[in-house]
């Protein structure tokens, strides 16, 4: 195959830069693989490694510093047939470290070439995540304080199934790059090289010294057997194909007429585990069966299994403009936590308002009419009190009728749950 190097834009790197050697080696690997430009996308990071996309006649994506792996992931998901090759420096690894971890854990079939030259070269030779502590760089003593990151070791620990640590001066580098690109999964090569423009101004580093330093590390030579597993994209597509389509929203035709004509505001005040939100939804569905417009707003703590649980419902024969509740027609007080969270509400209640209260819940003063129901004494579980309250409302023909509620239960529930709910409601409505 022909070279994929772009004759119109030859490499513009400093004389002696390892990147230039790697540019030609990468081109050699592409040629060995017989790839055409349109079968490859080069995703380049920022810095000198970010110039790579301009050197090649391939598809190109040059984005933001540290983020190259994120664009690469999107491209590979959208175009699985593309060979996605990412070039990043050690600087980008420090900036986008979490993306590196995600890429290793995810295992998409793409190749990351880390052009590791131990400093931020383009910006003036500042220390990076891989700078050895003894190096002298533009960051003063700061580079002596942090322990350098072993990118290959991190990648192995994060689950990359193919990791190689090597020198940019190895004779077989083109073959190794080819092997990494051909690996069916995420392949990372930590390629060590020399930055003559910045790093070796004050630090001695030669290809031989790189070989010696590499020899002192535990080797990383490609496949990491314990991390081998299905490739993410293929796995994703298989699982996605097994998913059921989302069902269309239920269409609820009006068949009843609501007991009261105007806008009705209801607030359910309870606590976690009382199925307050479900009861709120049932009240809205019941409203829909009478052709009402409905809104539901819920409030509960982020720790969902503890704390107040509140549902605000509006049922109206006309469009609901303002969705806030100011003077509720009905307040259902099932737990102290819910009541305490909305104490302000009670001063706005009028003589026409109705409160359904269970024993033991203390209410702030108000002018509302209070209807006490001891669900516990009737042997009803605490988790059914909210539903039972709707039955009490329906029994009084307040906001909803029994027909509306029964019909809502049939929309919402199936099987045993439906039977249990219907029988609970039946028992309370008829008494």
């Amino acid at each position: 195959m022909d070279s994929l190097l772009n004759p119109a834009r030859p490499p513009v790197l400093c004389p002696g830069c390892a990147h230039e050697r790697i540019t030609h080696t990468l081109d050699q690997a592409f040629q060995n693989m017989g790839l055409a430009g349109h079968q490859i996308v080069l995703v380049s990071d920022i810095g000198c490694s970010g110039l790579f996309d301009t050197f090649f006649h391939t598809h190109a994506m040059h984005g933001l510093h540290g983020r190259a792996l994120t664009y690469a992931a999107g491209l590979k998901m959208a175009r699985p047939e593309l060979n996605v090759v990412v070039t990043m420096g050690d600087g980008g690894q420090g900036i986008g470290g979490a993306h590196l971890l995600a890429a290793c854990r995810r295992n998409l079939n793409m190749t990351l070439l880390v052009l590791n030259n131990f400093n931020f070269g383009m910006t003036g030779g500042q220390y990076s995540a891989t700078t050895p502590p003894e190096a002298r760089l533009g960051s003063g003593f700061l580079s002596a304080l942090e322990r350098p990151l072993d990118i290959g070791e991190v990648a192995r620990c994060a689950g990359a199934p193919y990791v190689r640590r090597c020198s940019g001066y190895q004779k077989d580098l083109a073959l190794l790059i080819q092997e990494a690109i051909e690996y069916d999964g995420f392949a990372l090569m930590d390629i060590w090289g020399i930055c003559p423009g910045r790093y070796t101004k004050k630090n001695r580093l030669t290809p031989k010294m790189i070989d010696e330093a590499l020899a002192q590390r535990p080797p990383l030579n490609g496949i990491v057997t314990e991390n081998e597993r299905p490739e993410y994209g293929q796995h994703y597509r298989r699982l996605a194909a097994e998913q059921k389509n989302v069902s269309a929203p239920a269409v609820i035709e009006p068949q009843f007429s609501a007991p009261q004509k105007g806008r009705q505001e209801v607030v359910l005040l309870g606590s976690a585990g009382q199925r307050i939100i479900t009861a709120g939804e049932l009240l809205c569905i019941a409203g829909l069966t009478a052709g009402m417009q409905t809104t539901q707003k819920n409030e509960y703590n982020i720790t969902v299994l503890r704390g107040p649980s509140i549902s605000e419902l509006i049922l109206s024969p006309r469009d609901i403009d303002f969705t806030g509740i100011e003077t509720p027609n009905v307040v259902v007080a099932l737990d102290q936590e819910g009541v305490d969270r909305r104490r302000d509400l009670f001063q706005h209640l009028t003589k026409k308002s109705l409160i359904i209260q269970v024993p033991g819940v203390r209410l702030p003063d108000s002018t509302a009419r209070i209807h006490q129901v001891d669900f516990k004494a009737r042997g009803i579980k605490r988790s059914d009190w909210a539903l039972a309250s709707l039955a009490v409302l329906a029994g009084h023909n307040r906001v909803i009728s029994a027909d509306m509620l029964m019909s809502a239960l049939k929309v919402k529930f199936r099987g045993d749950t439906r039977q249990a709910a219907l029988s609970l409601v039946n028992q309370l409505v008829t008494h």
């Binding site: 996309d53 301009t54 391939t58 598809h59 190109a60 819920n298 403009d321 806030g324």
Partner: protein, 299 residues
């Protein structure tokens, strides 16, 4: 499409600038929560309205649509995709906790669903200049990365060929185009509702969930034979100046209501320098009630 709230938009900022400069279509839903910063996870506000417009490096325009209710969330999202495809830019949906976490009945049959806009594809029989624009157009045509024709995408300041450039004339032309492509077209997507007569004494302007309370006030005031009109803006950026000027042409005073301490009111004042513009804002995690708006309207 991606969805987040203010803290997430902060993190998106660098890639939003990338999407603007590199003309990458994106739809971003911002379900605004009370800020600043982490703020209140389940309290609403419209505090990001200026942040969405100006939270990018370079200051070039984006599209911001503001839904009022669940119905708008559905239809404006469709419009957002169409606009992102047509103008190749980020399009925001400026929602609010009070919209995103409110369930509501809707009649699917009554929705005004727009046709889907297909991408305008570049010719596939010649090398592609990825950022060249055909005569009479403001937006480059697409080809996908992975097509047989090579495609380049870059965050660097680029010429038509998608390579970094230092040609100041080419740079200036491109920046102008990125601005002009949206500002010259906003009249085609100035979503809004206007109620009442043009020569009412007072024009009430609102957007987002606050528009619902404003509508309740408008209806109440009409029942009392008060001279009022209501403009609900659903396109906030670029500013739909024509619509605002038209609605304000004959009114004596304007009342702007926002669920923040005053952001969009500056745009209204900028467009209507000779009109009396008063403002009511609230930023405490609660909805602005019709009572508060009525007080502001009654002065």
């Amino acid at each position: 499409m991606t969805a987040t709230s203010g803290p997430g938009i902060s993190l998106y900022s660098e890639n939003l600038s990338f999407a603007i400069g590199s003309e990458i279509p994106v739809v971003i839903v911002d379900v605004q929560r009370l800020g600043p910063s982490t703020g209140s996870a389940t309290r609403g506000a419209d505090g990001d309205i200026n942040f969405l417009r100006w939270g990018n490096s370079g200051g070039l325009p984006v599209v911001v649509l503001a839904p009022v209710d669940v119905k708008d969330c559905y239809t404006l999202t469709l419009h957002a995709f169409n606009l992102a495809e047509e103008f190749r830019c980020p399009v925001f949906l400026a929602s609010n906790k009070e919209i995103g976490m409110t369930r509501e009945s809707i009649d699917l049959q009554q929705l005004d669903i727009p046709d889907i806009v297909e991408r305008s594809a570049a010719r596939a029989d010649q090398p592609l200049l990825p950022f060249s624009v055909a005569p009479g157009k403001h937006v480059p045509d697409f080809l996908p990365i992975g097509h047989e024709i090579l495609v380049r995408q870059t965050s660097s300041t680029h010429g038509a060929d998608g390579y970094i450039t230092t040609d100041s004339a080419a740079i200036a032309r491109n920046q102008e185009r990125l601005m002009h492509k949206l500002l010259s077209a906003v009249h085609r997507f100035s979503f809004h509702e206007h109620y009442g007569v043009e020569d009412a004494d007072t024009l009430l302007i609102a957007y987002g969930v606050t528009a619902r309370a404003a509508k309740a006030v408008f209806k109440m005031q009409k029942r009392q034979n008060k001279s009022i009109s209501l403009l609900i803006l659903k396109t906030l950026w670029p500013v739909p100046q024509k619509i605002i000027r038209q609605a304000a042409r004959h009114v004596k005073r304007i009342v702007v209501v926002e669920m923040n301490l005053g952001q969009y009111k500056h745009e209204i004042k900028r467009i209507l320098p000779r009109k009396s513009v008063s403002f009511y804002g609230q930023m405490d995690g609660r909805l602005i009630t019709p009572d508060r708006i009525e007080e502001a309207v009654n002065g």
